[in-house]
Structures are given as structure tokens and as C-alpha cells.
């Protein structure tokens, strides 16, 4: 066998498809658990939990390694898959005039390449909507909260009664879990004053120029707005309904892809035995239904609760 056999032989390509596919299946579990926070937790607490989770996912070294493995798996799975699809087309240059493949195989198994291509398009748009903004262009704003309070600014010289004004304090959520006041605004006059200089996510002291804290990005609001839930004074995405529908459709595609892919990965790796075939089929088909369905529920719920 040639040295490069681990990449070129038909069976080696199957191993790569299976291994990257199984890794992406485990990725789906983690991703789903993270996403579920969008509907299981509400209010400022939920927003904070999600954004702190997103920060953790972007900065933990162990998670970073997993992230790079995920990027690699998506690319490898897509590239090898498309290469295999082209090779397989070439293996039958002339098609049958009359063919009944439905009698011997499932539709999901026959359309894996098409389902996978749709999923690749979904992943690209999905990453452009969220991952790109969070990690590449870094245009996701910081996590701010606003509190309006009556602030004492002095005493009435005649009566000695306290003089108060309505002040809105804007605080940013920091990576150490505190809220740091970054700006104050007089509600009546509209005058505002910055208390902290902000550069990207860095919160810098006005006087000493010292780096005081690191802000947490507000991915939660970006997601909620994207799926039609107006938050933090940001207008909701006017195409939210289309986004929700396309997301749900993509999850149906994922369902069919997993329906065949889960068990297929085990077969490709040579794991086929009467003792546990039933278990693999059951777990695979349950996974194929439950996971995409749970993913799909999230944007639907966000949209319905807008």
C-alpha cells in the first residue's frame, strides 16, 4: 500500500467520514445544551448566563481545542464527502432507464450528499450570522444593563432637603462577574458622561488609563433580535420569520442526515455486531429525532415569545 493510503483509499475515506461525523455528533450535544439556555433561563439572569457561557466557550483553552477540531471536522467531512459524491457519480457514467432504489434502501441513505450540502450552506450562513460577528468582525456589542435611580446631588440651602435628579447608570458585565459602571446620563437634561473608556472589550480607567476589566459581549441580544425578539432597545430582525422557517427546515435536513449517518458511522468503522446493532439503531434514530427537534424548538419559542 502506498504511504498516502490513509487518505486515498476508498475505505480510509470512509473512516475519515465516520470519525469526523461522530465528532460532529458529540459537538451537536454540547451546542444544543448551550443553546437551550436561551429558552430555559429568562430575564437578565438568562441573558447573563448565556453571555458568560459564550465568553467561556470562546476563552477556555480546552474548549478552543475542541473548537478547532470542530472546524477541521466540518471542513474534512464536507470536502471528503463531496469528493466521494463526485467519485461515486463517475463510477456509474450511464444511469438506468428504469430504476427502483426505493425497494432496497432508505431515501435518507441515498440523499446523504444533497442533505449534507444543504447543511453546509446552513452552517455557512449560521456562522456568518453569529460566529462571524462574535469572533471575526467582533461587532457584537458589550453586555450592558441600565439602572435609573434618584441621585442626591446636594442639599437645598433653605430647607436642607436633599436635591435629587434622575440619573441613568449604564453598567457593563465584566468577565469576573461584576457589573462596572461605564456611563451616567441625566434623564432630564440628556447630558451624559462616560466613566470608563471602552476599547473593544477592554474597560479602561479614564484617569489612570489602566485596564480595569474585560467586558462580556452580548451575543444573547444578537440571537434574540435575529429571531424576532426585540431586546435591549435593538429593533428585531424584520426577516425573523424567514430566519426561523429556514432554521427549522435545516433541522429537518439534519434529522434525515443523522437518521442514516449515525448508524452508518459505526458500520464504516467496522462496528457491526448482532449484539449491539439494535442499540446503535435505536440510539441513532432517537438522537436523529430528539436533537434536531430540540434545536428547532429554540428559535420557534424565541419568535413566539417576541
Amino acid at each position: 500500500m502506498s504511504k498516502s493510503g490513509i487518505f486515498t483509499s476508498s475505505l480510509a475515506k470512509k473512516y475519515w467520514m465516520a470519525l469526523t461525523g461522530l465528532f460532529l455528533i458529540t459537538f451537536l450535544v454540547g451546542h444544543l445544551l448551550g443553546n437551550l439556555q436561551l429558552i430555559t433561563k429568562t430575564g437578565e439572569e438568562g441573558r447573563r448566563a448565556f453571555n458568560e457561557y459564550a465568553y467561556f466557550m470562546g476563552h477556555n483553552i480546552f474548549i478552543k481545542i475542541l473548537a478547532y477540531l470542530t472546524y477541521f471536522s466540518i471542513l474534512a467531512h464536507a470536502c471528503i464527502g463531496l469528493y466521494l459524491a463526485v467519485q461515486n457519480k463517475k463510477a456509474r457514467p450511464k444511469n438506468y432507464a428504469y430504476n427502483k432504489p426505493g425497494t432496497n434502501s432508505s431515501a435518507a441513505s441515498r440523499y446523504m450528499a444533497i442533505l449534507g450540502t444543504i447543511l453546509l450552506i446552513f452552517i455557512v450562513t449560521h456562522m456568518a450570522n453569529f460566529w462571524w460577528k462574535q469572533k471575526i468582525t467582533e461587532t457584537v456589542p458589550l453586555h450592558y444593563v441600565e439602572n435609573t435611580t434618584d441621585m442626591q446631588i446636594g442639599q437645598d440651602p433653605m430647607t436642607g432637603a436633599p436635591v435629587t435628579r434622575k440619573i441613568t447608570l449604564q453598567s457593563a458585565l465584566t468577565t469576573n462577574g461584576n457589573y462596572l459602571e461605564v456611563a451616567a446620563k441625566d434623564v432630564e437634561s440628556g447630558q451624559s458622561q462616560e466613566l470608563v473608556k471602552i476599547k473593544d472589550t477592554k474597560l479602561i480607567d479614564m484617569n489612570t488609563n489602566l485596564h480595569k476589566a474585560e467586558g462580556v459581549r452580548d451575543l444573547h441580544t444578537v440571537v434574540m433580535n435575529f429571531f424576532g425578539h426585540s431586546e435591549q432597545g435593538q429593533p428585531a430582525n424584520e426577516y425573523a420569520l424567514i430566519a426561523v422557517i429556514l432554521y427549522v427546515v435545516s433541522m429537518f435536513v439534519l434529522m434525515f442526515h443523522l437518521w442514516h449517518g449515525f448508524g452508518s458511522a459505526f458500520q464504516s468503522l467496522g462496528l457491526n455486531h448482532r449484539k449491539y446493532n439494535g442499540l446503535i439503531r435505536f440510539v441513532g434514530q432517537a438522537f436523529a429525532i430528539v436533537v434536531p427537534l430540540a434545536f428547532a424548538i429554540i428559535p420557534v419559542m424565541i419568535y413566539l415569545n417576541r
Binding site: M1, G5, I6, T8, S9, S10, L11, A12, K13, K14, Y15, L84, Q87, N88, K90, A91, R92, P93, K94, N95, Y96, A97, Y98, N99, K100, P101, T103, N104, S105, S106, S109, R110, M112, H260, G263, S264, Q267, S268, L269, G270, L271, N272, H273
Partner: protein
């Protein structure tokens, strides 16, 4: 029971030789006994064609009892026709209705080029076998007794099940990728399951898969169509076994 006869329409692939283009031609055949086999029906059609001074249809056949692996034919969208666990010679005309239109096509695969009409060149399978589908034994007159090594019944049965593959190519014909994995895996398994096959096991699987790839067969996507259409009901377990054998050999072979 009195035999029934049916009248059928046939759409059959006609191709003069390997280099000509070929097309589906329509034929009408009356008074086909439902007790006749599919090949006997084709014999009857050829007789009719010869009487009309037309070129008879070329198709592969030999034993006509389902063990030689010569007959092929993609009938009504399925390899060896609509019946299960039979070769075309074992398919009977009682499976078809009176007045039915039956499509008959050759196996379609890059690795199985059409020679004439319904006959395809399956020598790619021979070359895969020659690449490793054997055990090397001394045949100089002191050949070891085949039963010298006792083998458990369960293992022997499994090896035998794999060995029932007749190499007809229905797996390739049915597979949407024209993949030969079921054939190759059966041939790998029948030897890998036995102690006599262990000596050359690693090189065997590497060489046979290499030859399979070179012949231009597609890749397996585990649709399972091959095992459903296989006249000998070769199981997908064999493909998994080949995957294991290859994985072992890939990382461990010298």
C-alpha cells in the same frame, strides 16, 4: 395445475458492441408460460427474433440453477428482478402481470463495461480475486488436508455464508455508487474467518481493496441496497468485517 400464459411488452437495451451507443428497444412477446424462467422467456423472444431474421439478444447465462453467477440483468429497476434471494435464472414469469411492460437493462457501472446488448465485462471481479482472494498452499503433491485444522461450527458457517457469493455483480448494479464492497468483503471474509486465511490476511485486504479502487468502483455509503438485492443474501456484516480488517492492516501491516 394448468399453466397460464401471459402477453408482455419488453423494453430491452440493445447495443451492437462495446463502442456503439445503444438504446432501449421495444418488443412484444405473446404466450409466455408463467412457469417459465426469465431466461426461458428471453430464449422464446430470441427464437421469435431469429424467425423474423433479426439479431437475437445477447445475455449471459450458464448453469440456470442459481449457482454459477453468470446471469445478470437489471429487471424493472432491480438487480435480478423483483424477487428476493434469486438470480435471474431463478426468477419466474409468474412474478409478472399479463400486459406488463418489463424493462431489461445490463448492469450499469464504469467497471462493468457493456460488451454487447445485456452482456457486461465482469473481469474486474476476477482481477480483484487475483489480487488477494486466495490462500497460498503447496500443490506439489504434498498438499495439506483441508480438514487438518478443526474449525468450530459457528465460524465455519459464517465463512461458508460469505463464500456463497457467486460474484454475479448484483451488488455493484444495485448500489447507487456502483460500489463493489459487498463482493470484495465477502471474498475477504470467507478467508479472514478461517485459520488458513490468517497468514495472508493483512496483505489480502490491502491488495484487494487497492485493486477494487483501481477498477473504478464507487465508494460505500452504507445504503444497504446490495445486501437486499444479493441473490445469496450476503450480509452487510461482511462489509463491516472488511472495514475492520483493512483498518487493522492499514495501521499494522509491514
Amino acid at each position: 395445475m394448468a399453466s397460464k400464459t401471459i402477453n408482455i411488452n419488453l423494453k430491452i437495451w440493445r447495443q451492437k458492441n462495446a463502442n456503439s451507443k445503444g438504446s432501449m428497444e421495444t418488443y412484444k412477446l405473446d404466450n409466455v408460460s408463467t412457469d417459465s424462467s426469465f431466461l426461458e422467456m428471453l430464449d422464446q423472444l430470441n427464437e421469435q427474433l431469429v424467425n423474423e431474421r433479426k439479431e437475437p439478444i445477447a445475455f449471459d447465462h450458464d448453469c440456470r440453477e442459481g449457482i454459477c453467477g453468470m446471469c445478470s440483468l437489471y429487471i424493472n429497476g432491480e438487480a435480478h428482478g423483483p424477487d428476493r434471494a434469486v438470480t435471474t435464472c431463478q426468477l419466474h414469469m409468474r412474478k409478472f402481470k399479463d400486459g406488463e411492460t418489463i424493462y431489461v437493462e445490463p448492469w450499469r457501472a464504469k467497471a462493468f463495461p457493456v460488451i454487447k446488448d445485456l452482456v457486461v465485462d465482469r473481469s474486474a471481479f476476477d482481477r480483484i480475486q487475483q489480487a488477494g482472494g486466495f490462500v497460498s498452499v503447496n500443490t506439489s503433491g504434498r498438499t495439506m488436508d483441508a480438514n487438518a485444522i478443526p474449525i468450530g461450527k459457528a465460524e465455519a458457517d459464517k465463512a461458508f455464508e460469505a463464500a456463497t457469493c457467486i460474484g454475479c455483480g448484483a451488488c455493484v448494479a444495485s448500489c447507487k455508487n456502483a460500489s463493489a464492497m459487498l463482493f470484495v468483503s465477502a471474498k475477504v471474509s470467507q478467508l479472514a474467518l478461517l485459520p488458513q486465511g490468517q497468514v495472508e490476511a493483512q496483505q489480502r485486504v490491502l491488495n484487494m481493496v487497492k485493486q477494487m479502487d483501481e477498477e473504478g468502483f464507487g465508494n460505500c455509503t452504507n445504503t444497504g441496497a446490495c445486501a437486499v438485492e444479493c441473490p445469496k443474501e450476503i450480509s452487510l456484516e461482511n462489509i463491516a468485517r472488511m472495514n475492520r480488517e483493512y483498518l487493522k492492516a492499514m495501521v499494522a501491516a509491514e
